[in-house]
């Protein structure tokens, strides 16, 4: 079995779930020892389970660790008290190991402690780096969200303002056969004759294309009411005067066109007869 197949067999997930018996676990360990990809995969899987536990509050309480540490400390205190009749640190005994051995033991101990510290600080450093990275990602995420939210709010306010404006004629344009779920709204100001479009739900235009709004009067070809940016939600377009019966949006080549491509009508809406 190749390594990829082994990883994909699901055995690593079973291993981490604690479902394998001791011998089976040792077999996985053997594979992991031989193939760094496997041991890396195991570490990554385990870390995501542990992180998930943290996020989903499935971690055991800290008190467990505190209890263990306290219990160890208690025991250590007990051990520090010299047992009666057994002097501690006596060097007079000729059976004691040689002085070099004592020194080397001490040196080994110090070395181990020092290695321990190094590992600890390295790990702290890595944790801190991880945290900085996470926070940076989070910051980007939040500021992006704040930006979008502000834009949406501005849009909503503008839209409400247009709805509330008594001078505006509101026309809802519904999706045509080529795009039934689309819709957009037009606000036409009776006094200034300015036309505003609110882009609500139109598909992303293909590259090199743009949407164009048309005003439709009886017995005339559609009148260009302006091209608009699909990403800007509420926009002021051209000034249209006269007896408009309907508004429609077509998809045109970038820059717009003089004559509407009627087959490419995405949304259309009629004015209410007054």
């Amino acid at each position: 079995m190749n390594i990829q197949e082994y990883i994909e067999s699901g055995i690593l997930e079973t291993y981490l779930a604690g479902e394998l018996d001791h011998e089976e676990m040792l077999a996985v360990d053997k594979m992991a020892a031989q193939h760094p990809e496997i041991s890396e995969e195991l570490t990554r899987l385990r870390e995501s389970i542990v992180r998930y536990a943290r996020v989903a509050h499935k971690e055991p309480g800290r008190r467990v660790l505190t209890h263990v540490l306290n219990a160890i400390e208690e025991e250590e205190k007990g051990e520090e008290k010299p047992a009666p009749g057994k002097p501690v640190g006596s060097t007079g005994n000729s059976n004691n190991p040689g002085i070099f051995s004592t020194w080397s033991m001490a040196a080994t101990f110090l070395l181990l402690v020092s290695i321990g510290f190094n590992f600890y600080f390295f790990s702290e450093l890595q944790n801190a780096e991880g945290l900085v990275k996470e926070l940076a990602q989070e910051k980007t995420f939040l500021s992006e969200r704040a930006k979008t939210t502000t834009q949406q709010l501005d849009y909503a306010n503008l839209r409400i303002a247009h709805f509330l404006n008594g001078d505006n004629i509101h026309v809802r344009m519904d999706g045509s056969e080529i795009s039934p779920s689309s819709f957009a709204n037009v606000f036409w100001n009776r006094k200034t004759n300015a036309v505003f479009i609110s882009v609500d739900n139109l598909p992303e235009p293909p590259h090199g294309h743009q949407y164009q709004l048309w005003a439709i009067k009886e017995g005339q070809p559609p009148i260009d009411a302006g091209i608009f940016d699909h990403n800007a939600l509420v926009q002021e377009l051209k000034v249209i005067r006269g007896e408009v019966r309907a508004f429609a949006v077509t998809l045109e080549k970038e820059g717009g066109t003089q004559y509407a491509t009627v087959e490419k009508t995405y949304v259309k809406g009629f004015l209410k007869k007054s």
Partner: protein, 184 residues
């Protein structure tokens, strides 16, 4: 810190750190075990004792054993996880033989093990963000992760509980973890 040192630091795995700290009788080893293994080990214990508070007690006992018997770990024989699992399993089995366990078993009716996750003081911004990420996991995937990794269910038990073929459970757990890994 020089890049060289950092390079070395990154090469030292968590397991190696834990083992050397344990051998140096440094209690930070226990902190690291807790940090990187606690939920998985509790799950191992839950498979045996089937009771969350009891599983935490057993874990406590197991950690003490880890501390006392740290010299018995041999990296050449198997991984740290395998060793920790064995210590935890044995502690759990010891527990099931105790009087304490039998009494709890008697008084326990069919309690659903689903834990109610209350708000804690760690409900900070980072957590909220992570929560949003985790919320992207489909409900069924979360359920599978929950059963397999936090409630000590075997794949067979999950298959029965959710009325799914065993093979499907296996594949879906794998997919769920893959998905989880991609978001957190």
């Amino acid at each position: 810190m020089s890049t060289e040192v950092r390079h070395i630091a990154q090469k030292v795995s968590i397991d190696e750190q834990i083992v050397s700290l344990l051998q140096a009788k440094d209690k930070r080893a226990l902190h690291l075990i807790y940090e990187h293994y606690a939920p998985v080990l509790i799950n191992v214990i839950l498979r045996v004792v089937r009771d969350k508070p009891m599983a935490e007690d057993v874990f406590q006992e197991a950690l003490l054993k880890v501390w006392k018997n740290s010299h018995s770990y041999n990296a050449e024989k198997g991984s740290l996880f395998t060793w920790l699992t064995r210590v935890c399993r044995n502690a759990a089995i010891d527990k099931t033989r105790s009087k304490d366990f039998r009494q709890t078993e008697k008084s326990k009716t069919a309690v659903d093990l689903v834990s109610i996750t209350g708000l804690s003081d760690r409900e900070d911004v980072e957590h909220l963000y992570m929560h949003q990420l985790v919320d992207q996991l489909p409900v069924i995937q979360r359920k599978l992760i929950d059963l397999a990794y936090f409630q000590g269910y075997t794949q067979k038990e999950i298959a029965e509980k959710l009325d799914m073929p065993l093979g499907t459970v296996k594949t879906r757990i794998r997919l769920a973890l893959k998905h989880l890994r991609s978001i957190i």
